[in-house]
Every structure is written in structure tokens, then in C-alpha cells.
Symmetry: C2
Subunit: 81 residues, 2 copies
């Protein structure tokens, strides 16, 4: 089983990395780009002997406790197969 966890800054939190990318792109001539926000994702593979319920629980805990900082970040989980 594979899961993908997307982690991004909450929309109310400033994203200096994204702003820098936007400024760089504008400077390169891409003036139509008005905003960039950056995030990260994790493709997680689970051992085949893990039950789907256990997998779901583990991924949820891992996303909330380890991969994202719930104070400033939000996350979204996609279970692939």
C-alpha cells in the first residue's frame, strides 16, 4: 500500500520561500505569475503485511505528529492503492 501526504503552510502563514520563487520568476520575465506557494509531499510505502486499517491509522498519526507542524502547517492524505 502506498500513501501520499501533502504538507503545506496554512494559507494565513507567510511563505517567504514561495515569495522568493515568485520574485525570481518575475525577474526572469514571467510577469504573468502573481503568486507562488511551496509545499512538500511524502510518498510512503507500507509493508505488505500491514492491514489497510492499520496503515490508515499509522499514516494519519505520522502526518499529524511527525511530517507536519500543525501550528503553522496543514496536511492532506491520499491513499494510492
Amino acid at each position: 500500500m502506498t500513501a501520499r501526504v501533502f504538507v503545506s503552510l496554512k494559507s494565513t502563514v507567510l511563505d517567504p520561500q514561495g515569495q522568493t520563487v515568485r520574485a525570481a520568476l518575475n525577474g526572469l520575465g514571467y510577469r504573468g505569475i502573481s503568486g507562488v506557494r511551496q509545499g512538500k509531499f511524502f510518498d510512503i510505502t507500507l509493508a505488505p503485511d500491514v492491514t489497510p486499517e492499520q496503515a490508515r491509522r499509522d499514516i494519519e498519526t505520522v502526518a499529524h505528529e511527525v511530517l507536519a507542524n500543525p501550528v503553522i502547517e496543514e496536511y492532506r492524505i491520499e491513499l494510492l492503492d
Copy 2:
């Protein structure tokens, strides 16, 4: 218009960051997690006066030339609205 560009290491390229995350998760007791690969994504907002064709062209160029390193990374574009 908004587009999302996903950038990840090619599957043939070693991902030390992902390996470190996997080792840390295993160490925390999540033994069912057998692999982690990390990637990043960019949410790009385009100015409303950009035509959809121009937007698509710009995003494609930006993804290929700036956001991803085609030697070791691959990218995927999702046009949102």
C-alpha cells in the same frame, strides 16, 4: 488560473532525505513503513489577464527550466482552474 507543479527525484535517483525520514519513523515505532520518498510542489497563481494557452506554455517552461532539474528530477503539472 492556478497550477500545481509537482517535482520529485527520478525513481532511479537515491533520495537520502526520504531515507532519513523512513529511518526516523521506523525508530519511532512505525515499523510498517518500508519506504519514503520526498518531493515538493509549487502552487502557482497566474494573473487574470493571462490567457489559458499562455498560462499553460509559461507553466510548462517554468517547470522544465526553473523548478525542476531535468537531469535528476521529474515533474508533473496539474492545471486547477
